[in-house]
C-alpha cells in the first residue's frame, strides 16, 4: 500500500524560475492493485512516479509504503523497482546479467540468483535469451527484459514509466495483456504512468486523472468513464460532446457531457427529436461511423454503428440522446 499525503514538488529552473510540478497531492494506492496515473504531458504524473521511486524528494508532504516513511530514503533503500521509459538496460551486460543485477546487489547466493533469473525470464517468456546482449534484442524483447529485471527482486511496488510508448500498436496491445497478466500472477502493486487513455482504461483497476500538478479524479475505469467530474476528465477519458446548458429557472451556466456513442441520428420525420442539425463530416472507422454534426453552432460528434443508409455531408438529421446519457459538469 502506498499513501501520499499533501505531496508537493517544486523545481527551480534558470529560465522559467520556480515551477510547481505537484500541488498538495494526496493519494492512496492499495496493495495488489494495478493503478494508473493518467494525464497529458506536463501534468506531473512522471514527477509523482519519481517521488515514489525515490529519484526526487518531495518539497512537502509524506510518502509511506506499507507504513514505512520513505520520503527521505534513496531509491536503493526502497522496496520499489522501476521499468524505465527507455528501458535503461545495462548495455555491457547480458540479459541474464541485467536480470541478476538487483539480486546481486541484495547479496543473494549464486545458485539462488540463477534460479530466480531463470524464473523471471520464463515469466516474461524470454527463456533462451539469457546470453544475448540488449543490443541484439527487438524493442519488445528489451521491454520484457526490463520487466524481468524489475520483477526479479520481488519488490512491493513496480513503477512503470510510459513502458509501452516506444512499441508499435500491435505490440503495445499485446504487452497491455502481458502487463495485466504479470500483475495478477505476481500480486505486486503496479503503478503505471501513461498519457494514453485507452491503455489506462484497458489495464487499470483504478485510474488517477491528473492535470497541472493536481489529481482531478480517482476511480475505476468504468466509474470515471460513466461519471466524469469535470469537463477535462470527460474530454480526456474517451470522447465527449460538451454542450453548453443552463439549469432551468436559474442562471447557472453549466456544461452537459454526452458520449458520442450515446448520440442517435435519424431521418427527419417531424416528431420527438431533441434537435435538428446538419452533417458536417463523416469518418468511416470500420465497425462504426463517426459523424460530425453542426447543432446551433456547436459541433457534436455521434459514433453510430450500422447506420443502414449512411448520411451524407449537408444532410439535415434529427439528433437525440437519452436523458440518462447526460452528465452535468460545473467545471
Amino acid at each position: 500500500m502506498i499513501e501520499l499525503t499533501g505531496v508537493s514538488k517544486t523545481f527551480t529552473t534558470r529560465d522559467v524560475g520556480v515551477v510547481a510540478a505537484l500541488k498538495e497531492v494526496s493519494l492512496r494506492i492499495d496493495g495488489n492493485e494495478f493503478f494508473t496515473l493518467l494525464g497529458p504531458s506536463g501534468c506531473g504524473k512522471t514527477t509523482l512516479l519519481r517521488l515514489i521511486g525515490g529519484f526526487e524528494t518531495p518539497s512537502t508532504g509524506r510518502i509511506r509504503i506499507d507504513d514505512l516513511d520513505v520520503a527521505a530514503l534513496p531509491p536503493q533503500k526502497r522496496p520499489v523497482n522501476t521499468v524505465f521509459q527507455s528501458y535503461a538496460l545495462f548495455p555491457h551486460m547480458t540479459v541474464a546479467g541485467n536480470v541478476a543485477f538487483g539480486l546481486e546487489m541484495c547479496g543473494w547466493a549464486k545458485a539462488d540468483i540463477e534460479a530466480r533469473v531463470k524464473e523471471a525470464l520464463a515469466l516474461v517468456r524470454l527463456d533462451g535469451f539469457a546470453a544475448r546482449k540488449p543490443a541484439q534484442l527487438s524493442g519488445g524483447q528489451q521491454q520484457r527484459v526490463a520487466l524481468a529485471r524489475a520483477l526479479a527482486p520481488r519488490p512491493k511496488v513496480l513503477l512503470l514509466d510510459e513502458p509501452l510508448s516506444a512499441l508499435d500498436l500491435k505490440l503495445r496491445k499485446e504487452m497491455q495483456g502481458e502487463l495485466k497478466r504479470l500483475q495478477r500472477e505476481t500480486g505486486i502493486t503496479f503503478v503505471l504512468v501513461t498519457h494514453d487513455q485507452e491503455e489506462a482504461l484497458a489495464m487499470s483497476d483504478r485510474i488517477a486523472v491528473m492535470r497541472d500538478g493536481l489529481v482531478l479524479q480517482v476511480g475505476a475505469p468504468k466509474a470515471i468513464y460513466d461519471n466524469p467530474n469535470s469537463r477535462f476528465v470527460a474530454d480526456f477519458i474517451g470522447e465527449a460532446n460538451l454542450v453548453p446548458g443552463k439549469v432551468l429557472g436559474r442562471n447557472d451556466a453549466l456544461t452537459v457531457a454526452v458520449r458520442p456513442e450515446r448520440v442517435t441520428l435519424g431521418r427527419l420525420n417531424g416528431h420527438g427529436a431533441r434537435a435538428r442539425g446538419e452533417i458536417a463530416g463523416v469518418t468511416f472507422l470500420g465497425l462504426d461511423t463517426l459523424y460530425e454534426i453542426l447543432l446551433d453552432g456547436t459541433r457534436v460528434r455521434a459514433r453510430v454503428r450500422d447506420a443502414g443508409e449512411p448520411f451524407q455531408p449537408g444532410d439535415t438529421v434529427a439528433v437525440d440522446w437519452p436523458d440518462t446519457a447526460e452528465r452535468e459538469l460545473r467545471h
Binding site: 534558470r14 521511486g53 525515490g54 529519484f55 534513496p74 531509491p75 536503493q76 520499489v80 523497482n81 522501476t82 524505465f84 527507455s86 535503461a88 538496460l89 545495462f90 548495455p91 555491457h92 551486460m93 547480458t94 546479467g97 543485477f101 538487483g102 546487489m105 541484495c106 529485471r149 524489475a150 527482486p153
Partner: protein
C-alpha cells in the same frame, strides 16, 4: 559509382596516412640501418651498428661487451610513462565525471579551461614549473612563510618534478576522451542501478567504470605514448641529470650527430608502444568472452 571515382575519393585519406605516418616511419627505419655522417645526416654503407650500439659496448680491443645502460634508460622511461598514465587516470576520471555532472553552460566553460593550456607554448609552461619549484621559488617561499619548513625543500630536479611536469602536460589528453564516453552514458542507467539496490561504489564499479573504460583506454594511449618519448619535462624539470629515452633521442639528432642511433632508439620505443597495444587488443576479446 565507378572504380576511378572511388579511387579519387579515398585518395586524400590514403595520401594523408602515407605522407604523414608511413613514409616518416620508413625513413626512420631506413636511417637506423645506415652509417652516421660526422656532420649530421646519414651515409652508406648499410650496417647494424646502431642496434649493436644499443645493446653492446665496443671495448678497447674491439670486442663487444653487453651494456645495459640504454636498456635501463628505456626501462626508467617506461616506468615514468606508466606512472604518468596512472596518475593522469586517477586524476582525470573524477575531473571528467565532475564536468559531466554540470549543466550545459558550465560544462562548456570547464571544457574550455581544460583545453586552455594548449594555447600556451609547452616550453613556457614547463619553464613556469621551474619558477614555482626551485629553491627560491613560489612553493618554497610559501612553505617557509607559513613556517612549515626552515630550509627550502629540494622540489626540483628529481623524478617527482619530472612526473609532475609530465602529468601536468598530458592530463587534458586523459580528461577529454573519458569525458566524451561519460557524456554518452544515459543517466537513466545510473538511476536504474540505484533502483536495483546498488550502493554508490557498486554503481561506479558495475555501471560507470565498464562504460567509461573505452575512453580511459584511449586516454591511456594518448598519455602513455607521448609521455614515453617526451624530453621537455625530463630535461627542464629533471635537470638532465638522468637521461630519459626522449632526451637521448633528441641528443642523437642534435649534439651527438648520430642520426642512425637516434632512429634506432625511436624504432625501439615504437616497438614498445606497439607491443603494449597488441597485448591490449589481444587480451580484450578474451575479457569480452568471459563477461
Amino acid at each position: 559509382m565507378g572504380r576511378q571515382s572511388t579511387l579519387l575519393l579515398v585518395a586524400p585519406a590514403v595520401l594523408a596516412i602515407g605522407v604523414f605516418m608511413l613514409i616518416p616511419m620508413f625513413i626512420a627505419l631506413a636511417y637506423s640501418f645506415m652509417t652516421a655522417d660526422p656532420y649530421g645526416g646519414v651515409q652508406a654503407p648499410l650496417t647494424f651498428d646502431a642496434y649493436i650500439q644499443f645493446l653492446y659496448q665496443r671495448d678497447f680491443d674491439d670486442s663487444l661487451v653487453f651494456a645495459s645502460d640504454y636498456i635501463l634508460i628505456i626501462v626508467r622511461s617506461i616506468y615514468l610513462a606508466v606512472a604518468t598514465t596512472a596518475i593522469c587516470l586517477v586524476l582525470g576520471l573524477p575531473v571528467a565525471w565532475y564536468i559531466v555532472c554540470q549543466d550545459a553552460e558550465r560544462r562548456r566553460l570547464l571544457l574550455f579551461f581544460i583545453t586552455l593550456p594548449f594555447w600556451i607554448n609547452t616550453l613556457i609552461r614547463t619553464y613556469c614549473w621551474i619558477l614555482i619549484l626551485r629553491d627560491e621559488g613560489l612553493a618554497n617561499k610559501l612553505l617557509r612563510a607559513l613556517g612549515v619548513v626552515a630550509d627550502p625543500l629540494p622540489l626540483l630536479y628529481n623524478d617527482g618534478s619530472i612526473l609532475l611536469g609530465l602529468v601536468y602536460t598530458f592530463l587534458p589528453f586523459m580528461v577529454l576522451p573519458i569525458y566524451s564516453t561519460l557524456e554518452r552514458i544515459d543517466p537513466r542507467l545510473i538511476e536504474a542501478a540505484y533502483d536495483l539496490y546498488a550502493s554508490r561504489v557498486a554503481v561506479f564499479r558495475r555501471v560507470i567504470w565498464p562504460l567509461a573504460k573505452p575512453g580511459a583506454l584511449a586516454g591511456a594511449t594518448l598519455v602513455f605514448a607521448p609521455a614515453l618519448g617526451s624530453f621537455l619535462a625530463p630535461d627542464l624539470l629533471g635537470g638532465g641529470k638522468k637521461l630519459l629515452i626522449g632526451s637521448l633521442i633528441q641528443m642523437q639528432f642534435t649534439s651527438s650527430r648520430n642520426w642512425p642511433f637516434g632512429a634506432a632508439l625511436s624504432i625501439a620505443i615504437t616497438a614498445v608502444i606497439l607491443l603494449v597495444m597488441v597485448l591490449r587488443s589481444w587480451r580484450a576479446p578474451q575479457r569480452e568472452a568471459r563477461a
